[in-house]
C-alpha cells in the first residue's frame, strides 16, 4: 500500500493525535494527515484489460494514490467474486470499502469524487452528452476480439468491420488533438487502452491499422505522450503473447 508522499500508517498518526501534546500545530498536522490518508482505494484489475486500464488512466490523471491488485483470469480471487457477484469481472474499484463496477461508471465516479482537478468530462451539458455517446460507441463497437478469434472470410469481415468503426471514430476526432478537444477526457480514456491491442490486431489480421487509420494512430501516439497513458498501457508485444496464450487455452487456432 502506498500512502501518498509519507509512509506513516494511519494508526501511528492516530496515536500521536490522541496523546496529549503541548504543540497544537503538531496535533493538527497529524489530524490532517490521518484524514487525508484514510481514503482507502483498491483497484482489482488484470494488466491486459482495456477496461481496467481506463480506470488506471483516470486515477493517474487525477493523481490519486491507490493499491493495485492483479487478478488471474484463470483463477479469480474470492474478493473479486464477492465485490462483483453479478459479472465476476474486472475492473472493480473499492473506495473505503464500497465497490464500484463497470469501467465507465467507475471513471465517471472518479471524476465526480475528485472534482477539484483535471476534469474528465466537459461542463457543458451538450458536450457531456457527446462524450457519453462516443464512450458508449467505443464500448459497443471497439472491443471486438473477432479478428484474433476467427479465420478466413469471418476474419476478413471482422477486419472490415473494425476498420469501418475506427474510420467513424476518425471522423469524430477530425483535426482535434483529443476527442475531448483540447482536453484529454472520457472518450480518449475509453478508447486509448485498445491501442495496446493494435500490434496484436496487425499480426493476426496481417494488415496495418496505422496504414488504414493514420489519424487514429496519430491520436493514440499523442495520448501516449501523457504520463497517465504511457505509465499505464502494457507493452504491445506482451499483449500479443498473452492473446496467443489465451487462444491456446480456449483451443482457438
Amino acid at each position: 500500500m502506498t500512502y501518498g508522499s509519507n509512509n506513516i500508517p494511519p494508526i501511528e498518526l492516530f496515536i500521536i493525535l490522541v496523546t496529549p501534546h503541548p504543540d497544537q500545530f503538531i496535533r493538527f498536522w497529524c489530524f490532517s494527515l490521518t484524514v487525508a490518508m484514510s481514503d482507502e482505494l483498491v483497484l482489482l484489475s488484470m494488466w491486459p484489460s482495456p477496461f481496467g486500464l481506463r480506470v488506471q488512466i483516470a486515477l493517474a490523471e487525477k493523481r490519486v494514490e491507490y493499491e493495485y491488485k492483479e487478478e488471474d483470469l484463470f483463477n479469480k480471487s474470492s474478493l473479486l467474486l464477492t465485490v462483483n457477484p453479478v459479472h465476476k469481472k474486472v475492473p472493480v474499484l473499492i473506495h473505503n470499502g464500497k465497490a464500484i463496477c463497470e469501467s465507465l461508471a467507475i471513471v465517471e465516479y472518479i471524476d465526480e469524487v475528485w472534482n477539484d482537478r483535471s476534469p474528465l468530462l466537459p461542463s457543458d451539458p451538450c458536450r457531456r452528452a457527446e462524450a457519453r455517446f462516443w464512450a458508449d460507441f467505443v464500448d459497443k463497437k471497439a472491443a471486438s476480439k473477432k479478428v484474433w478469434r476467427s479465420k478466413g472470410e469471418d476474419q476478413e469481415e471482422a477486419k472490415r468491420e473494425l476498420i469501418e468503426i475506427f474510420k467513424v471514430l476518425e471522423g469524430e476526432l477530425g483535426d482535434k488533438p483529443y476527442f475531448g478537444g483540447d482536453n484529454f477526457g472520457l472518450v480518449d480514456i475509453a478508447l486509448v487502452p485498445f491501442y495496446s491491442r493494435f500490434y496484436t490486431l496487425d499480426k493476426f489480421g496481417n494488415f496495418s491499422i496505422e496504414a488504414e487509420c493514420p489519424v487514429l494512430v496519430a491520436w493514440a501516439k499523442r495520448c501516449m505522450k501523457r504520463e497517465s497513458v504511457f505509465k499505464s498501457l502494457p507493452d504491445s508485444e506482451k499483449v500479443y503473447d498473452f492473446v496467443l496464450q489465451v487462444n491456446k487455452w480456449f483451443g482457438i487456432h
Binding site: I100, E102, A105, R128, F133
Partner: protein
C-alpha cells in the same frame, strides 16, 4: 396543435419503444414541453438519418438544433440541462455509480434475455429463457432493496435514473406475461418490484406515455408477422 413555430425541444421516436419512453418520462419529470415526432414502422425519416447518422435509431432528442442520441445519454442530458426540476440522477457519486452499473446490466444482459423469450423455439427453450429473465429480476429486486432503502422507488421518494432504465420495459414485460400465460414479476420472488411496478406506472410522469398492454400486444403481433414474413420476390 395550431401554429407553425418549431418547438425548441423535439423528440424523434415511436410510442411502443421503451428507449423512447425513457426520454419522454425524463422530459415529463422536468415539465418540459416537447414536440413528439413519430417514426413509422419499417421506414426511417430523413430527419432521423441526419440526426443520428451513426446508429440511425430512435430516440433522438433535438434541443434547438443539437441532436442527442442514446436513451440513457438523453436522460442524463435532460437532468443536466433542466437542473431546476426534480433530480433524476442521485446526487451522491456512489449512489450514481450504482445506478449506472444497474442500468448497464439491464441494457446489456437483462433486456437481451427478455427478447430471448420471443425468439426461443420450443417449450424447453422458452422455459429456459423465462428462467433467465426471472433470475435477472431477482437480482434487480435485491438492488431495489439496497438502492431504494425502504422508499417507493430505486431513486428514493421520486422516480430516478434506475427507475426509468428498468420501468420503461414494464409494458413489454406485461405483453410477454400475457402472450406466454405466466408471470415474470411475481409476489413470491420479486414482491418489492411488483409494488414498485404499480407505483411507477401510476406516476404522473409515466402514465400517459406507458402504452396499454393490449395495444402493445397487438403491435407485437404486427412486428412478429413482419419479421417472419417471407422476403418479397
Amino acid at each position: 396543435m395550431a401554429g407553425t413555430t418549431t418547438s425548441d425541444v423535439r423528440l424523434i421516436g415511436a410510442w411502443p419503444s421503451p428507449f423512447v419512453m425513457r426520454a419522454r418520462i425524463a422530459l415529463n419529470i422536468k415539465s418540459v414541453y416537447y414536440e413528439f415526432l413519430q417514426e413509422q414502422l419499417g421506414s426511417k425519416s430523413d430527419l432521423l438519418l441526419k440526426s443520428n447518422p451513426v446508429h440511425k435509431k430512435i430516440p433522438v432528442l433535438i434541443h434547438g438544433d443539437r441532436p442527442i442520441c442514446e436513451s440513457l445519454v438523453i436522460v442524463q442530458y435532460i437532468d443536466d440541462v433542466w437542473a431546476s426540476g426534480p433530480s433524476i440522477l442521485p446526487s451522491d457519486p456512489y449512489d450514481c455509480a450504482i445506478a449506472r452499473f444497474w442500468a448497464a446490466y439491464i441494457d446489456e444482459k437483462w433486456f437481451p434475455s427478455l427478447s430471448g423469450i420471443a425468439r426461443a423455439q420450443g417449450e424447453e427453450a422458452k422455459k429456459a429463457a423465462i428462467e433467465q429473465v426471472v433470475e435477472g429480476l431477482v437480482l434487480l429486486e435485491d438492488a431495489f432493496v439496497k438502492c431504494g432503502k425502504g422508499r417507493a422507488f430505486f431513486g428514493g421518494d421520486t422516480i430516478g435514473y434506475l427507475d426509468i432504465a428498468l420501468g420503461c420495459y414494464l409494458g413489454w414485460i406485461r405483453v410477454t406475461e400475457k402472450m406466454n400465460n405466466m408471470k415474470l414479476l411475481d409476489e413470491a420472488k420479486t414482491p418489492n418490484l411488483v409494488t414498485w411496478a404499480d407505483k411507477f406506472c401510476g406516476d404522473g410522469s409515466v402514465k400517459d406515455v406507458m402504452p396499454e398492454t393490449d395495444k402493445l400486444a397487438e403491435f407485437a403481433k404486427v412486428l412478429m408477422a413482419k419479421f417472419r414474413a417471407p422476403p418479397p420476390n
